[in-house]
Structures are given as structure tokens and as C-alpha cells.
Symmetry: C2
Subunit: 293 residues, 2 copies
Amino acid sequence: MKIIRRPEVMVAWSENLRRQGVTIGFVPTMGALHEGHRSLIRAGRRRSDALVVSVFVNPTQFGPTEDFARYPRVLDRDHALCRTEGVDVCFEPTVEAMYPKGYQTVVMVSEITRRWEGERRPHHFQGVATVVTKLFRIVQPHFAVFGQKDYQQVLLVRRLVQDLNLGVKIIICPTVREPDGLAMSSRNIYLSEQERTIAPLLYKSLKAGSEAIRKGVIEAALVQSTMAAVLKQEPRFTIEYLAVCDPLTLEPLTLVTSKAILLGAVRLGSVRLIDNLIVSPARNQRAKRLSSA
Amino acid sequence: MKIIRRPEVMVAWSENLRRQGVTIGFVPTMGALHEGHRSLIRAGRRRSDALVVSVFVNPTQFGPTEDFARYPRVLDRDHALCRTEGVDVCFEPTVEAMYPKGYQTVVMVSEITRRWEGERRPHHFQGVATVVTKLFRIVQPHFAVFGQKDYQQVLLVRRLVQDLNLGVKIIICPTVREPDGLAMSSRNIYLSEQERTIAPLLYKSLKAGSEAIRKGVIEAALVQSTMAAVLKQEPRFTIEYLAVCDPLTLEPLTLVTSKAILLGAVRLGSVRLIDNLIVSPARNQRAKRLSSA
């Protein structure tokens, strides 16, 4: 496996392969790779001739009070995982190479980033959109793989690619979970032992919402209170949002009559956890909707 | 000459040529082509195997009170000029193809756009940065040619390319002028016969500033009043700005001790004219500066 640090070397590598008709796959990460990343890498590996994984903890997507400085950095372990999975290039630029002196450009995607994470983390998605645009131009992949765990980010990237004609196909992989349901995240290591025990309640709360919908509940408010009830069992959770949304626009729904996404964000001690679940309403609800149309 | 209207067709054309190692040159325009454009096209033609000219009156770079609706559109004449100059492709997308329903992404370059045109035309440069990013991804040129007439725009594009790793070389061509010195512009056709007679005073004012500097004036304020004096001969001019700036940052200078740029923007009736001139100080001023360093 090649380790490339300089953007111009990465560009040259990719341009050379593209001229040869090689299909380049790309998995952008912030490192501290876990089983979720492994599944993205495997999905990328299956579809590509050459696979690039980037490891870059992007400062511009962290807020001033967030965890940029303490974000886990374990390059050696990341390299080992990438080697095991047959990655061709690990691209790990420095912050200075990505944002040199005089840097002054940002990319902003508006509507899709307005709510939920965008509301709680100002500038976060601006940082994401900018670094993704840059990485796509440096790595020049034919496709890139993202995890459903960061659902709003996935929608943002799809929109960005379409709007700026970036020409990269976006592939989404299902969230990988611990046996107890907790969504894999590099930030899970921040959880204390006690917090770790109760962390799966976020997923359980989404499951409860999903079950309600499957059983025929169509009022979003009722679904929401079902989800909240699960989390309120445990006073250490602070709910940031629990939402029932349109899966394409992320606008909140009043009635769940077709496919929806349940979004959740909570604080648990010093850690912020997010998760989501796509859900389809009970068959008879869909039937009702069709007959009234 | 091929006329391409659909972005996806343009992308396919360019990708195919790039795989063959063909060098693609690009001249982005808003049409109503004049001798200034012709010089850009010729510069592009000399350096490229395949040359693309785009004709797209980009709505997002016009302010609500500006001339988007009445901007001259003369496609047949533009095609004739392109054919004469040996252009390979004229790319002329519709507004709907560039900004389809649901479009929501912008690109912003901050410091370089803060003053001068950016201050007088809010959102103008955001529109320019966004459409240039899109056009570069659609046309995928190796280099693109811009005119020095829109000097701030040129600096913006250079910064944008560097910041977002767009991988397009930017070539700047000198401003082409009418025999009486008026800088060529598609908007000159808005000038009444009377206005047209006095319009060259903007260039004369820049020339006067430049002469003063060459003769040893180093106080920017003095250069500025010299320029203003020329325009004040003619009360029909409204001066928007006359500035003596650093040619890389566009920050105003106090003393002209090395290369500078003179920027001018005026209103003449309903028309807004801009122009600029790069100038080097008198030899003895440069010597003074060196000896005091």
C-alpha cells in the first residue's frame, strides 16, 4: 500500500490511472477506523480497480468548542486495517497542505444543511462540503463510499456532487452496529464504561419509533413521543433532537404515509451521539394513502 | 464547430478527449463576443489541441437591479466569430440545465472579493465563483483564458482554482481597447452616442495616474486625485471608485514603491464601466526603496 501525503502527488497518481481507464474508488475518512469504515472499504474494494482511503481530520468541520484537538489519531492502526483490506493508497495530507496560507474559499449547500446537525453545529457542513469538494478534485475518484450513519452528510454530498457537476458517484452503505445496537463511531471511545452500557438506548429509541410506524401509527408526534419515552428511562441522556422526516429533504413530517427517516441526536456526558433509521409505514397505511389519492 | 447544449454531453466529449491525452483549452464568456473575446480565443487556440468557448449569461452573478434581462444575446454572431477563429465546441447550456430545480450550492472566495466590485455588487463574485467551478467541472479544461479587464475576477478565479484544487491553469490576456482607448466590453453597446464620445475618459484617467507614478509620485492619494481630476472634467461621470492597490491582494496602497494596479469604476448614464492598469513606479523610487530596505 502506498502512503501519499502531498496533494499534487495524489493528483498525479489518479490522473495517470484515469488516462489508463482504471476505475478509482474512494473512501474519505477522519481515521480511527472501525468496523463501519471496514464495510465502506470493502464496498469500495468490490467496485474499483484502484481504491483510495483518505485519513484527514478536517479542522474546518469542527466547531470551536468541539473535539478537534482530542479527536483520536491512530495512523498505524489505520494503515494496518487498510493493508488488510487491500487498499491501494492511503492519502493523508497535512492541514497546511489542504489549507495553505492565503486560503479563502468555502462551498456551501443551503437547504439540506439548514436543520438538525446543521442547526446544532454551525459551519460544520460548510467544512464538510468544502473538504469533500477538495478531496474529490485531488483523488479524482469515479465513485466514493459514505456511511448511512451520517445521513444528512450523505444527502449533502449527493446534492453537492450534482450541483457542482463533480462527476463522482455516491454509494451509501448501511450503518454497522455493535452487537447491542450502538452505531459504530470513532467517538464511541470517549464513552465511559457506564455511558457505554446505556448508549444503545439511542438505537432502541429509533427502533421503538420504527416499530410504532410499522404497526400503523401515522402521527409523527406520536412516533416522536414513543422515541423520547425510551430515552427518558435514562436521565443521563440530553435529547438534542428526535425527528420524523422526509428522507430526501429532511423536512419534518406530520403524517408518516410513505418512507420516512427517523433521526436522533443526544448528549451523554461529554459525548454527542447521532443515529438514524429508515422506515416504511404499515402496508395498510400505504394502501389507505393510495385509495385516498 | 460543434454546438453542445447539455452539460452531460459536454462532460462526455471532454472526458473522451482527456483519455486520449488531448489538451483542452477553454474560454468562458457571456456571449456578445467582441475583439477582446477574439484575443482570448486566439490565445486559447494557440495553446490547445481542442478549444471550447462557453456562452452562458449566468443569472446568479447579476444583482436584482442589474442588466440580466437586457444583457445582449446574439448567438448567431457569436457562432460566426467562433467558427472564424477555429473553435471546436461552443458550449451553451440553458439556465435550467445549470441550475435545475432543487439547486442549492454556492462557492465563495472571501478576502479577494471583499472590496471594489465585490462591495458594489453583492453576490456577484459568489455567482462567478460558483459558475466557474461548475464550468470547469463540465468542460474539464487543462487551461482557461480570462481577460485582464475584469482584474478582480481573474484574481478570484486563480484563488478558487488553487483553493479547491480544480487543476486548471489560468491564462490572462491584456485588455483590448477601441482606438480611442475605451476597454472593449459587451456592455459598451448600452452607451448613447454622446456617452460613447466621453467614455474613454476612464482609461485616460488611469493613464494619468500611471503617468504620475512613472514620473515619481509615490503618494497614492496624489495619484488618486490626479485620476479623479481627469474624470471631473465631465460631470456626466459618477465615480464609484478610483483606487491604487496591491496587484495581488487588491488592498489599497498608501505609497507606490513597487508594482501596483490602478482600478476604476464609473457610472455613465445607465451604464457602469470598469477598467484597470498595471503600473510600475519610476526607477529611482524602486532604487530608493531598495536602498532603505
